[in-house]
C-alpha cells in the first residue's frame, strides 16, 4: 500500500538522506557511549564532540549543529567508524553535514575548510587533476606573519628539491569528464 504524507522530514532525516549510498545505521541507534569522541584525534579542536553532535542532530537542534565547526574539523580518519558499537558511521555523517552546509550556504565565512573544498572542486572540474600550490590562498594568511614566513620557506625548499610543480597538470578529456559530472549534478551548483 502506498501512503502519502505531507510531513516535513526531521533534521535527522534530512542529514540521513545525504548519505544515500552509505550503509551506516540510523542515528536513532546512538546510545551516547562516546566511543567516537574517545578515538577522535581532532576532538579537542571541535566545538562539539562527535557524540554531542549526534545528540544535537537527534534532538533536531539544527542551528546549533550547523554553526558548529565539528564536521569541518573531521580529518576523515574513520577511527570512529570502525569503533561505533551500533554501526553508525560518524565520519560519513560529518560528510553529510559538510554537504548540507555547502548546499544550504550555512557555513561560517571565517572558516578555511569550505573555501579550500570549493577551490579543490573547481580545480578538478577545470583540469581533471589536483594542483597543490593552487590551494595556498585558502590558508596562507591563517597562520599570521610567522605562518606566512614558514610557508614561504617551505615552498622555496620544495622548489629547490624539484618537488613543487609550476604548471598544473591536466587530463586530455576534461570536456568529457565535465559532461560526465553534468549527468550527476548541475555544474553551476559546484563551480
Amino acid at each position: 500500500m502506498v501512503t502519502t504524507s505531507a510531513r516535513k522530514p526531521s533534521f535527522r532525516e534530512e542529514v540521513e538522506n545525504l548519505l544515500h549510498a552509505e550503509e551506516g545505521a540510523s542515528l536513532v541507534r546512538c546510545i551516547q557511549c562516546a566511543t567516537c569522541s574517545a578515538v577522535c584525534p581532532a576532538v579537542e579542536f571541535m566545538d562539539h564532540t562527535p557524540r554531542q553532535l549526534i545528540g544535537l542532530i537527534n534532538a533536531g537542534m539544527k542551528d546549533e549543529v550547523m554553526s558548529s565547526n565539528t564536521f569541518w574539523t573531521c580529518a576523515s580518519c574513520y577511527a570512529c567508524t570502525e569503533k561505533c558499537p551500533e554501526g553508525i558511521r560518524p565520519a560519513d555523517v560529518m560528510y553529510a553535514l559538510t554537504r548540507y552546509s555547502l548546499w544550504n550556504d550555512t557555513f561560517n565565512r571565517d572558516w578555511v575548510a569550505p573555501d579550500f573544498t570549493r577551490r579543490f572542486t573547481r580545480t578538478i572540474l577545470r583540469t581533471g587533476k589536483s594542483y597543490e600550490p593552487g590551494y595556498a590562498p585558502a590558508f596562507i594568511f591563517e597562520g599570521g606573519f610567522g605562518g606566512i614566513v614558514s610557508e614561504m620557506q617551505m615552498g622555496l625548499k620544495l622548489l629547490a628539491k624539484g618537488r613543487l610543480p609550476l604548471i598544473p597538470a591536466r587530463i586530455e578529456r576534461v570536456r568529457n569528464l565535465r559532461a560526465m559530472i553534468a549527468r550527476v549534478l548541475p555544474l553551476d551548483g559546484i563551480e
Binding site: L18, H20, A21, E22, E23, P41, A42, F45, W72, A75, S76, C77, Y78, A79, T81, R89, A91, Y95, T98, R99, V112, A113, F116, T117, F120, T121, I124, G128, K129, S130, Y131, E132, Y135, A138, F139, G143, G146, G147, S150, E151, Q153, M154, K157, L158, K161, G162, R163, P165, A169, I171, E172, R173, N176, L177, A179, M180, I181, A182, R183, V184
Partner: protein, 298 residues
C-alpha cells in the same frame, strides 16, 4: 609476471614524485609490471565527498572503467586514492541502481564499468605471497637493523566493510612483515594507525600540527631512527611541515620520513638517486648512512 593498471594519483606527479620513482624501481626488481592508466583523473580526495556523494562516486567510476578497459586490476600507492577507488568500487558492485546511474554518466566519455576490477594498495602487491618471499631472498644488508617506525596511516586500513576483508585492522602486521623481509627492524609503534591530520594541515593548522607532533613523539619514544610511510599526504604532513610543527609546538624534531618503497629499493640494490633519496627536507642521509655498503655517504 604480474601486471596491474597503475593509478599514480595527483601527488605522485608533484610533491611525492619520489614515491612514484621508487615504486617503479621496486616493481621492476620484483618482476611486477605497473602499466600507467590512460588519461586517469583525480580521485576527488576528501573534497568531493564534502560536496556530494554521487559527485565523488563519478570521479572514481571513470578510473575504474578505464582500468576495466585495460583488462587489469588497479594498484594505487596513495592511501586516499586507494580508499576512494576501493569504496566506490564496492558501492557500485553492490548497488545496481548506482551502477546504472554511473554508467549513464560514463557514456559521456565512451566508457562503461561492469564491476570487474579489484583495487589494491601498492603495499598489498608487495606483501602478497610469492613476492614477500622474493624480497626476503633478494634483500641485501643495506638497511639491515635499521629501526623503522611503520606508519600505515588511516585510509590504507579504514574504513573496512564487515565481511569484505579478513585482514586485522586493529593491529595489522603486514607492513612490519615487509620491513623484516627487507632486513629492517620495525619498532613497536603505538601510533601506526593514527591520523596525520590530512587536509587539516591546510584548513586547521594548529590541530594538524598537534596530531603530527604526537606521531613524531611516539616514533621517538619507540626508538625509531626513521619513519616509513605509504601515503603522500602522511609523508608531506610529517616531513614538509615538521619545521612548522617545531615552531608551533616548541619541539625540536629531526625525524626523517621516507616512503617504504625507498627502503625496499635500497634493500633490493637500487641506487640512492634512482629512489629519489636526497629530496627530503629532513635529511635521511645520517639514518641511512651507517649501513651503506653500496654507495658511500657524501
Amino acid at each position: 609476471m604480474s601486471r596491474y593498471a597503475y593509478y599514480p594519483g595527483c601527488s605522485l606527479e608533484t610533491m611525492a614524485a619520489t614515491y612514484h620513482v621508487s615504486s617503479m624501481e621496486v616493481a621492476h626488481k620484483l618482476g611486477i609490471e605497473l602499466e600507467e592508466m590512460e588519461d586517469w583523473n583525480c580521485c576527488g580526495a576528501t573534497a568531493y565527498s564534502h560536496v556530494d556523494e554521487l559527485l565523488a562516486t563519478v570521479l572514481c567510476a571513470r578510473n575504474l572503467a578505464i582500468a576495466e578497459k585495460q583488462g587489469l586490476d588497479i594498484v594505487a600507492p596513495c592511501n586516499a586514492c586507494f580508499k576512494n577507488l576501493r569504496t566506490t568500487n564496492l558501492a557500485i558492485q553492490r548497488d545496481a541502481d548506482l551502477a546504472e546511474h554511473m554508467n549513464y554518466a560514463l557514456e559521456a566519455d565512451d566508457l562503461h564499468y561492469g564491476g570487474g576490477v579489484k583495487v589494491n594498495h601498492i603495499m598489498d602487491v608487495f606483501v602478497a605471497d610469492p613476492v614477500l618471499e622474493t624480497i626476503r631472498r633478494k634483500a641485501n644488508d643495506r638497511i639491515r637493523g635499521l629501526r623503522v617506525a611503520p606508519y600505515y596511516g588511516c585510509q590504507i586500513v579504514r574504513p573496512r566493510r564487515p565481511g569484505v576483508e579478513p585482514r586485522d585492522i586493529d593491529d595489522p602486521g603486514y607492513f612490519e612483515d615487509l620491513l623484516v623481509a627487507a632486513g629492517a627492524e620495525p619498532v613497536p609503534y603505538p601510533y601506526k594507525l593514527r591520523c596525520c591530520g590530512a587536509a587539516l594541515m591546510v584548513t586547521n593548522r594548529r590541530a594538524a600540527a598537534q596530531m603530527v607532533r604526537d606521531l613524531l613523539q611516539s616514533a621517538v619514544d619507540s626508538g625509531a631512527e626513521i619513519i616509513a610511510t605509504a601515503c603522500p599526504l602522511c609523508q608531506t604532513n610529517l616531513e614538509c611541515y615538521q619545521a612548522d610543527v617545531n615552531r608551533l609546538c616548541g619541539t625540536d624534531f629531526a625525524m626523517p620520513i621516507v616512503y617504504f618503497t625507498q627502503l625496499l629499493g635500497l634493500a633490493l640494490g637500487v641506487g640512492v638517486k634512482r629512489l629519489g633519496l636526497g629530496k627530503e627536507l629532513v635529511s635521511a642521509k645520517a639514518a641511512l648512512a651507517g649501513r651503506d655498503r653500496t654507495t658511500p655517504a657524501k
